[in-house]
């Protein structure tokens, strides 16, 4: 049993819904009580889809238990087939129906419908949303892609690929797909099938016609791609093209598989990010302490972009996708830090607090945490929120995606000169602790709000903290007290690095067993630790 305040992923049947809703001509019959119908609103309200998800819920009730839940399921399958006439169906159970063990697959099979009916086994007490999406997509591909056949010889024909992974309710999947198609078009590569997003079951039958596969989101599509590699000898590319470096590697990998020349696309300065990052106004970004948390795909990609393309310093990296823990740990090790692998929001909160970052790149949950701690934040990953479906084109992938990321990561930060002035003239009344980056205004923006409240609740200070989270370090008791003038001087340090300065100074004093932290100690510690 796990205490959960917020959850990063839904149950696995939500993953199955993301696949089903992305597709056309597929229907999902879910053995589930009425409460589970809330899932519709994820798609109709959060993603603002214009159609209900193609899902029939059996909505059995307590009075049906032990009597005729199986009959209810069979009736629901028959009625859904009659009404929606899908090309194929998937059937399965949600957490409650899993407990009553009605065998949806067997019941549906007994109806002998004239279409493929694919049973899903999604263990709800063990697995989660992304696994559910991956398993569903894999089962669909396995069931529908058919027997391996001979591909038409390449001569005279454009190389063709499938794009695998984009789903409904995916973080920027809609826009990423546009960018990836643009890259492929530039390379002269045809797109055979995109799946699940926009594909029909009939399209999945044609998957084998492509020369290779592109896995956009390994969480969703890697197992399907591995299956296709094994049974259709289709190689796949799973470089996630987020950031200039990764996009370049993606283009090169794809070009190599397709036997085309990547040089023309890479030649003409396809992204503004490199120059913007080199432009001297970006100097102030150097070594900004950043904490990255999200699904594995986005956390890994953003860690690399932050460190190598913006010159930030990675002080935290983590994911809630346990299936990809190994990759994330390896990446964290490259940055000399230990990865935070957890789906417990409270652990993430503690890790962020301990790392004292100047910028958080996370999910909507980390946005809450950052807001409370008064740290700027940009959202880079699901779990999804209505704000993650902007009206404008806003990809993360490809060269345009890199442009978007530059803006996304830099926008929440205070600009260089402003930061300097704030550091120099601490007693200017408008430059108080909580002064927000001036370009963010004083409107209802989350960041500005949080920062403005910050003086009242100094989040990183070890002074009384109103939030219920325990500040780390029981050895705080052994720390020397601060002399009043040192304490006052500390307040002149911008609040987002003050916690670090305080901690360093106290550590410095502790190590030297100093009885009192004076002005001298503060500056000795500063010299000792550097920035």
């Amino acid at each position: 049993m796990q205490l959960t305040v917020w959850t990063y992923e839904g149950p696995p049947h939500i993953g199955a819904m993301r696949v089903a809703t992305a597709m056309e001509g597929l229907h999902y019959v879910l053995h589930a009580p009425q409460g589970d119908t809330y899932a519709d609103l994820l798609f109709t309200m959060i993603e603002r889809r214009a159609k209900r998800p193609p899902v029939t819920y059996t909505t059995f009730q307590a009075q049906d238990l032990g009597r005729d839940t199986a009959a209810i399921f069979k009736d629901a399958v028959a009625a859904a087939y009659a009404r929606f006439q899908p090309q194929a169906m998937i059937v399965g159970a949600s957490c409650t129906a899993e407990l009553i063990q009605d065998d949806p697959g067997g019941l549906a099979k007994a109806l002998a419908l004239p279409i493929p009916v694919i049973p899903l086994e999604l263990p709800a007490y063990q697995k989660k949303e992304n696994w559910g999406a991956s398993e569903t997509f894999y089962r669909l591909v396995r069931a529908l892609a058919g027997a391996p056949g001979e591909r038409a010889p390449r001569d005279g024909r454009r190389p063709a690929c499938n794009i695998l992974g984009p789903t409904a309710l995916g973080f920027r999947h809609r826009d990423d797909l546009i960018e990836v198609r643009r890259l492929l078009e530039g390379l002269g590569i045809a797109v055979n099938v995109v799946a699940p997003l926009g594909a029909t079951p009939a399209d999945l039958v044609r998957l084998g016609e492509a020369d290779f596969n592109i896995v956009l989101y390994p969480e969703v599509a890697r197992s399907a791609a591995q299956y296709l590699e094994k049974s259709f000898r289709q190689p796949f590319v799973d470089v996630v093209p987020i950031g200039v470096g990764a996009t370049t590697r993606f283009v090169e990998a794809v070009a190599a598989l397709a036997g085309v020349d990547p040089a023309p696309i890479l030649a003409n300065a396809p992204s503004r990010l490199p120059w913007y990052s080199r432009s001297v106004d970006s100097t102030y970004l150097t070594g900004k302490r950043v904490f990255v948390f999200g699904d594995a795909t986005h956390a890994l990609a953003l860690a690399r972009v932050a460190a190598h393309e913006l010159g930030f310093k990675l002080v935290g990296l983590g994911t809630y996708t346990r299936e990809f823990a190994r990759e994330v740990r390896a990446e964290a090790a490259l940055h000399g830090i230990e990865a935070t692998i957890t789906d417990d929001y409270l652990d993430v909160e503690a890790a962020i607090q301990a790392a004292a970052p100047e910028l958080v790149l996370g999910t909507q949950m980390e946005r809450h945490i950052a807001k409370r701690l008064g740290i700027p934040c940009a959202v880079i990953s699901a779990p999804i929120h209505v704000q993650d479906f902007p009206a404008r084109h806003s990809p993360q992938m490809g060269f345009e995606g890199a442009n978007v990321l530059f803006d996304t990561l830099v926008h929440p930060l205070m600009m260089g000169l402003e930061e300097h002035l704030l550091g120099m003239f601490r007693e200017d009344p408008e430059f108080h602790d909580g002064a927000a980056p001036s370009h963010l205004g004083r409107g209802p923006s989350g960041i500005a709000d949080a920062v403005e409240r910050a003086p009242k609740t100094p989040p990183l200070a070890s002074a009384p903290v109103p939030s219920p989270i325990q500040i780390q370090g029981s050895d705080a008791v052994r720390t020397a007290p601060w002399a009043p003038d040192a304490e006052k001087e500390l307040k002149k340090i911008p609040f987002f690095v003050r916690g670090k300065a305080r901690a360093n100074t106290e550590r410095f004093a502790r190590e030297r067993q100093l009885p009192l932290i004076t002005l001298e100690t503060l500056y000795d510690a500063k010299a000792h630790f550097g920035r």
Binding site: L3, T4, G10, L42, T96, Y125
Partner: protein, 422 residues
């Protein structure tokens, strides 16, 4: 699957038909979204699956910026396989929770579909934990499971669980107003009852330690139409229900107040004097929307059990035409006055068969469709104007001063459609 033949009408002229099939209604866990703000030192711990956690979070969570006073103890395979003792696990989770939130005085263990199916005895767990955490924290339990409750029935189950815990009232006559109301609405009603000379208390109170007493002398007035179990529990404690319509709109509010006033022998002249200013203001506020709503054809999908009183308000006070009034459950006793007020021949449908309901709605092309969050955008995309019903639970709509706001909630989608040129 569906009973298409109308059942024999009730004593009033309304046709009530039961429908069975796929439902599209939240489960009772959803009530936590407003209850956890209403009782300021209560915490709601759902004992359920990841789905339960995801449901509450999706229905409300990401919109709430403060740390919520709800959480889920997610059952995992170790619990189900018997590798972990669920009661020990629950105790461990509760201990961690109480350490983190020492401000909590009342903890609800909320049952879910999975906990009901595996027959996890939360009432025993609540007793055990109550003994351990006394006197700082009281632990109660109720079920918000979707196999037993829909949406607002969660509030009913929660309040019903409070009733046996209420202190015994002295014999003097007291009025108990039952059902979670916005604080501002509660304060307005408290002033009105006080002006009548009636001592009124509210259930739930805003703090766990201030729950009202109940006893043989208590007479209670339901502020919400979905409180069947709570009413039964109060009656078991000897309290008597005052039959009344619900305080929606000028007329509903007046008759709701009048029922209480008559039960307590308030002088009619005093009643008129006390209610006159509110009544005047509510009529004035409603007049602003009368033109926008008059003659509008309205279709209600089943959702909150507020449908019948809302339909009555739209029909009688705003002149709207009712095509169909769907409701997940119909408590004929508590809604008797409301049903009587519906126009003859109004089609009331109890229960749901989603796709059939959608067919009827599309065929009728109503001017305004009141429905749940899952249906609103798809219907809008088909050119229908919708009002999502959950907002009617999250907005102060009861009483005189909110009558205009209630009308505005229905008028806004129409107004918006008229404004937009894109």
């Amino acid at each position: 699957m569906n009973a298409h033949a109308p059942l024999p009408s009730t004593e009033c002229g309304v046709s009530v038909r039961a429908e069975h099939g796929q439902r599209a209604v939240f489960c009772g866990l959803t009530g936590i979204v407003w209850l956890h703000r209403k009782i300021q030192d209560a915490f709601f711990l759902v004992v359920g699956s990841r789905t339960c956690a995801h449901l509450i979070q999706s229905a409300a969570g990401v919109m709430i910026f403060a740390e919520p006073r709800f959480a889920t103890a997610i059952i995992d395979e170790r619990d189900l396989a018997g590798l972990a003792d669920m009661n020990e696990e629950l105790d461990r989770v509760v201990t961690r929770l109480i350490e983190r939130r020492p401000d909590i005085r009342l903890l609800f263990l909320v049952g879910s579909c999975p906990s009901e199916v595996i027959k996890l005895d939360l009432s025993r767990a609540a007793l055990r934990l109550s003994r351990r955490l006394a006197p700082d924290v009281r632990v109660l339990n109720y079920s918000g499971s979707g196999i037993e409750t829909t949406f607002t029935q969660g509030e009913d189950a929660c309040l019903a669980s409070l009733v046996p815990e209420l202190p015994e009232a002295a014999t003097t006559d007291e009025l108990l107003v039952v059902g979670a109301l916005a604080d501002v609405v509660e304060d307005q009603f408290a002033r009105l009852f006080s002006d009548f000379g009636i001592a009124a208390r509210f259930l739930p109170a805003r703090r766990a330690g201030q729950m009202p007493p109940v006893g043989r002398g208590t007479r209670f007035l339901l502020a919400q139409p979905f409180l069947a179990d709570t009413a039964r529990a109060l009656e078991e404690r000897g309290a008597r229900r005052i039959a009344a319509p619900f305080p929606l709109g000028a007329e509903g509010t007046t008759e709701w107040l009048r029922a209480a006033a008559e039960a307590f022998g308030v002088d009619p002249a005093r009643f008129e004097a006390v209610t006159a200013p509110g009544l005047r203001r509510s009529r004035q506020a409603l007049a602003a929307y009368a033109e926008k709503l008059a003659g509008k054809r309205v279709f209600f999908f089943p959702d909150s059990q507020l449908e019948v009183p809302l339909a009555r308000f739209l029909s009688r006070e705003m002149g709207a035409e009712l095509i169909e009034v769907g409701t997940p459950y119909l408590h004929r006793g508590h809604l008797a006055a409301e049903l009587e007020w519906l126009p003859d021949g109004t089609a009331v449908v109890e229960g749901q068969s989603l796709d059939d309901g959608l067919d009827r709605c599309r065929l009728a092309r109503p001017d305004l469709t009141v429905c749940g969050l899952g249906l609103a955008n798809p219907l809008e995309a088909e050119g229908l104007t919708t009002k999502w019903s959950i907002e009617l639970l999250f907005t102060p709509i009861q009483g005189y001063e909110q009558a205009g706001d209630l009308a505005e909630l229905f008028a806004r989608p129409l107004e918006r459609r008229a404004r937009l040129e894109v």
